[in-house]
């Protein structure tokens, strides 16, 4: 009770402090529960007429983000955005016609400051076949600019808006058929910085998810047209980051160093799917969910709606490759929703060790049978080991180690893994069989008249007793009639420099 009372008092104190602090930032209302004040929204977003000379906005292609505005006064910012219809790869060898804002999917990143007056020029390239327009979710006004920017091929439109609300906003084309314009890649992000700017980080990246609908199957080569039926049914062929499978992998992976903080501006263009955005191996220290003003801390996966965004930040603690996925995970593995962040720097084994143990784990199913193995071991030590004990122990070990390939009935898989049951190769030379287990076997072998050419890795984790038991089991099962193999036999073979693993033709 005492502890709880103390907590209540402390919360109240924090709330009072916050209240005192928020007088300068809007005199907006305060949430009586959380003690957090609001920023005043659009009503407090107008900082007066633009000051100074008009500024031409720096637009960047993904995954790059324009530099901070570093301004403390509202300005007039001119944005020149060109619409281009282009054919390029959506996956290796798969070509698709994208409709783009600025020649990329997603479109150019736009960065302004809250209170800025934005003079927006939308240019539709003369080679375009379609009219296009733009709806910026950061615009206050009906249609978000859509009606004001409706532009025929080879023409240009202009409209002006004041960026009253801070946040990270999606923009997209809203021309009929809107689903197709968005499905062809017509979306991007506009960041309206808060008046005080964003805190400094080491890297800022621009990542945007989209779903694509092609008439051909996933990775079917050639030029793939848009599939209207699949789009209407919301069954995408591809779900990708930054407009193509592999746009952010391999050499094109995002980069950072250990100790650096990475901020990602993440959007979801849709048109249809919601993203469960996740970075494998990282935890977002902060997520400004929905691209808004507040952040949540310590987030594994953040939901990004179609036509929505999020800002995520994390500090890289250990080197390696971090995989960005839509954690609706078949999209990652079967539709392309994978990107990478590669982090260089020194290992920190105290935080993450890497693999420390790599051992066979037989699980409970085998554990009950391990009684036979320990019995065999005891008998071997006592010098009373019987053939039957060996076979029983061998059976248990075989189930955990060998049956995946050679099958529990010893018949192998035709053409891939040779049989042990009634195997001329096995029965002709038990010593050679010991060698195969201990040192592995690769290259061509002929078993029962059939040729096999695959690789058996050395079973180095097995000790002499275990190998002896397994080989004895194999020599005396599935109709095989052979002798017992002893641990001493195994030891001898193991000691030999080279094993008789050559095929006997």
């Amino acid at each position: 009770m005492f502890v709880r009372a103390l907590v209540v008092v402390m919360v109240a104190m924090v709330a009072m402090l916050t209240l005192a602090a928020c007088g300068k930032k809007g005199d907006g209302s305060t949430d009586s529960v959380s003690g957090v004040s609001d920023t005043g929204g659009s009503a407090k977003g107008d900082f007066g007429p633009p000051q100074g000379e008009p500024i031409k906005a720096v637009l960047t292609s993904p995954p790059n983000v324009p530099p901070p505005t570093l301004r403390d006064k509202p300005a007039k910012v001119i944005v020149d955005l060109e619409v281009r219809e282009i054919e390029q790869e959506i996956s290796e060898g798969v070509r698709y016609t994208f409709w783009t804002f600025g020649g990329t999917v997603p479109g150019s990143f736009i960065r302004v400051r809250q209170g800025d007056t934005v003079e927006f020029h939308l240019k539709n390239h003369p080679d375009s076949k379609m009219p296009h327009n733009i709806d910026l979710h950061g615009v206050t006004g009906p249609g978000g600019g859509a009606a004001s920017t409706f532009t025929a091929p080879g023409h240009e439109s202009q409209f002006t808006f004041k960026a009253l609300n801070q946040g990270l906003y999606v923009y997209h084309c809203a021309t009929a058929p809107v689903g197709m314009h968005v499905a062809n890649g017509m979306y991007g992000l506009i960041l309206v910085e808060p008046p005080e700017g964003m805190s400094k980080v080491d890297h800022e990246y621009y990542v945007m998810q989209g779903d694509f609908y092609t008439t051909g199957k996933y990775r079917e080569k050639g030029v793939q047209p848009f599939d209207m039926e699949k789009a209407i049914d919301e069954h995408p062929t591809y779900v990708v980051f930054n407009g193509a499978e592999g746009a952010l992998t391999g050499d094109k992976a995002l980069k950072a160093k250990v100790g650096e903080t990475v901020r990602m501006y993440v959007g979801n263009g849709g048109p249809n799917l919601i993203s469960s955005f996740h970075v494998i191996g990282e935890i977002f220290d902060k997520v400004w969910f929905e691209g808004g003003t507040r952040f949540q801390e310590n987030v594994q996966t953040t939901l990004i709606p179609a036509g929505g965004s999020a800002i995520g930040e994390f500090r890289i603690e250990v080197p390696g490759t971090y995989i960005l996925v839509d954690h609706s995970i078949t999209r990652a593995f079967n539709k392309g929703a994978i990107a990478m962040l590669k982090a260089d720097g020194p290992e920190n084994k105290a935080i993450y060790s890497g693999k420390e143990v790599d051992a066979v784990y037989l699980a409970e199913r085998a554990a009950s049978n391990l009684a036979a193995v320990s019995q065999a071991t005891k008998s071997a030590e006592a010098g009373t080991l019987t053939l039957n004990e060996q076979i029983k122990a061998g059976e248990a070990l075989y189930a955990g180690t060998c049956s995946v390939c050679h099958q529990s009935n010893g018949e192998g898989l035709p053409g891939v893994f040779p049989p042990l049951a009634k195997s001329d190769y096995l029965l002709a030379d038990p010593k050679r069989a010991i060698g195969a287990v201990v040192k592995g076997l690769s290259g061509k072998v002929t078993v029962n008249g059939k040729e096999y050419n695959s690789v058996m890795p050395p079973m180095a984790q097995l000790n002499d007793d275990e190998v002896a038991n397994i080989v004895t089991y194999a020599l005396n099962s599935w109709g095989n009639k052979g002798a017992a193999v002893s641990a001493a036999d195994v030891k001898k073979v193991r000691a030999q420099a080279s094993v008789a693993s050559k095929p006997s033709e």
């Binding site: 076949k129 009219p131 249609g143 091929p153 058929p177 209407i232």
Partner: protein
């Protein structure tokens, strides 16, 4: 045989009537085909809901107007030459790819459809041929047909074929007219070659914001107000309507041509 004969007869009468040079008329035979009166499902229902569109019998050019034909036109009509056309009637892109103000030049072909022409220019051309631009309904009626059917629009495969052209940028050289399959009426190139002006494009009024439905701001559009697109699953027709509604009468674009229609006194068969 009847339709071409009628067309030729009409053309010769027209030439005599307008006192045009007999030589010019003889040099060009323009094929028009008869489209019987019809009532059909339209993407733009006249009542904004589901009413059918009705068209009287008319004759339509079998192929879009070509560079060669348009060159003859501007040679006879100086006021429609590039450089002389009033800015009110054609924007700066008018006949831009042409080598000279009155010649399309060596890098274009006489048989390609003329593009970079404004609505005013297209309208003037059709008048010179004793014709006019088709209305949207006339155009839509003929465009609904494929090789065998009057109305192929519900065929998913036909739609997919349409979309392939509609969804690609116009960066490739235009083919000559008359190379696509002839449709049931004997008309070529309704799809797959160029966009085409229609007479009443200002009345098409697809909302510039595709998501507005039911209560559009009437002032934003010419004519009777915005009409919701009736054929929501037909993206090809939506794209054409969007393109047409993005235009103004003086606009020219690289993929926009036209064809003409003539009214006829023939009774519907």
């Amino acid at each position: 045989m009847r339709a071409p004969l009628a067309a030729m007869l009409h053309l010769s009468l027209l030439c005599a009537g307008l006192l045009l040079s007999a030589l010019a008329c003889a040099a060009q035979y323009v094929k028009y085909v008869t489209i019987p009166a019809a009532s059909f499902r339209t993407a733009l229902p006249p009542d904004g809901k589901s009413a059918s569109a009705a068209t009287s019998t008319f004759r339509m050019r079998a192929m879009p107007v070509t560079n060669g034909e348009y060159q003859s036109f501007v040679r006879q009509h100086v006021e429609w030459r590039r450089g002389q056309v009033a800015a009110l009637f054609a924007d700066a892109g008018y006949l831009r790819p042409w080598a000279a103000n009155d010649a399309f030049g060596p890098h274009l072909h006489a048989g390609q459809p003329v593009t970079h022409v404004s609505w005013f220019a297209a309208d003037a051309y059709c008048r010179s041929e004793g014709a006019r631009l088709p209305t949207w309904y006339e155009w839509e009626l003929v465009a609904a047909a494929d090789e065998q059917r009057k109305d192929a629009r519900d065929d998913a495969r036909w739609r997919e074929r349409m979309l392939r052209w509609y969804s690609r940028p116009s960066t490739e050289k235009l083919a000559a007219v008359g190379k696509t399959a002839k449709n049931l009426y004997g008309v070529y190139d309704m799809h797959g070659l160029v966009w085409e002006w229609v007479e009443d494009f200002t009345g098409i009024m697809v909302s510039t914001d595709n998501r507005e439905q039911g209560d559009p701001d009437l002032r934003k559009f010419c004519g009777a107000g915005a009409i919701a697109v009736g054929d929501r699953e037909n993206y090809a027709v939506q794209m054409r309507l969007a393109l047409l509604s993005s235009l103004q009468a003086a606009y020219t674009t690289g993929n926009l041509g036209f064809r003409c229609v003539r009214e006829t006194r023939e009774k519907a068969s």
